[in-house]
Symmetry: C2
Subunit: 133 residues, 2 copies
DNA sequence: ACGGAAATGAGAATCATTGTCAACCCGCGG
DNA sequence: CCGCGGGTTGACAATGATTCTCATTTCCGT
C-alpha cells in the first residue's frame, strides 16, 4: 500500500515511446501493431517490433488506448479519444462513417448495470453496403 | 426461392461433424477449437484438429454458432440460440450473459439507413467486471 | 458395387504475439 | 561533469492458434 502505489508506474520516456504515441495521435483509425511498426519505420523512425508491442501494451494498460480484435484475431489499437463514437463501414468500398448516439451508449450502460457489471466498455461495429456500392 | 438451394451449400454429413455438433450441444459455455478437440478425443471420439476447425467454420458460416474472441485472441464458439443477441462479458472471470435489446437493434438499423447503407449487420460486445469479481 | 467428389487427418506452414538476453540509454549520486 | 544501475530496446528464437497440403478415406448417386 505504500510507495508510489497510486496511479501509473511512470514509464521512463524514450524516443521510441514518443514515436509510438505520436503515430497513434496522427490517426483516428484503428491500427495493428504490425501496421504501426511498418509505418514508423517508413517514416524513418527505427524501432523494434517487440518494442511497438511493449509500448502498445503499456499504453493500453494505463487506459490510453482502445483495443479490439479484428475478425481474424489481429489486435488493433486506437488512441482513446475524448469523443466516443462508432463506425459504420461499407463492406465493399470500405467507406467509413463515424456515428455517435446517446441511445446506444445508455443502452449499453444500463444493460451492464442491470447485471451488476462495472467498468464497462463496449465495441460496436455496423457493417453494410453503402449507397454507391 | 427454391428451398435452400441458393443459400447454404449443404455439407455432406459425417461422423465427425455430428460429433462436433453434439459436443457443442452439450454445453452452454463458449469453447475453443482446441478445447473441443481435446474433449472429443477424451470421449473416445477420434477426430483431427483441422477437421474440428473446418466443422466450426462451416457451422459458423451457416450462422449456427456464436463466435467471439477472448482477450488473447483465441476464438471461442458456442451453439447459438435462433434469436439475435449480444454478449456481456466479464473481463476477469469470463462469465458471459446474453443480452438482447430492440433498442440497440433499431438504433443500428436507423443509423445505417440514415446514411444510405443496405444489408446491415452489426457487432456489439460489452465488456465489464461482473459483480462477483 | 463403382467412380468421382467431398471430407478427413497428420504434419508442415503461417503469422501475430511473446519471451530471451545482451547491449543500450536515461537520470541520479558523487 | 562522469560513471553506475536499472529500466528499455532490439534481433532473434519460441510459442501457439489457425490454415494449408495432399494422400487417403468416406459418402452418395447411379
Ligand atoms: Zn461502399
Ligand atoms: Zn459507444
Ligand atoms: Zn467475473
Ligand atoms: Zn443486435
Amino acid at each position: 500500500m505504500t510507495g508510489q502505489s497510486a496511479g501509473a508506474p511512470t514509464r521512463r520516456p524514450t524516443r521510441q515511446q514518443l514515436a509510438v504515441a505520436a503515430a497513434l495521435g496522427q490517426t483516428e483509425d484503428f491500427v495493428s501493431a504490425q501496421q504501426l511498426h511498418a509505418r514508423l519505420r517508413g517514416d524513418g523512425n527505427p524501432i523494434g517490433l517487440a518494442t511497438v508491442y511493449r509500448c502498445l501494451a503499456a499504453l493500453a494498460a494505463v487506459g490510453r488506448l482502445d483495443v479490439l480484435r479484428t475478425d481474424d484475431g489481429e489486435a488493433v489499437y486506437r488512441q482513446c479519444s475524448t469523443d466516443h463514437h462508432h463506425h459504420l463501414v461499407c463492406r465493399i468500398c470500405g467507406r467509413t462513417v463515424e456515428v455517435a448516439g446517446p441511445t446506444v451508449e445508455s443502452w449499453a450502460e444500463s444493460v451492464a448495470r442491470e447485471h451488476g457489471f462495472r467498468d464497462v466498455r463496449h465495441t460496436i461495429e455496423i457493417v453494410g453496403t453503402c449507397a454507391t456500392c
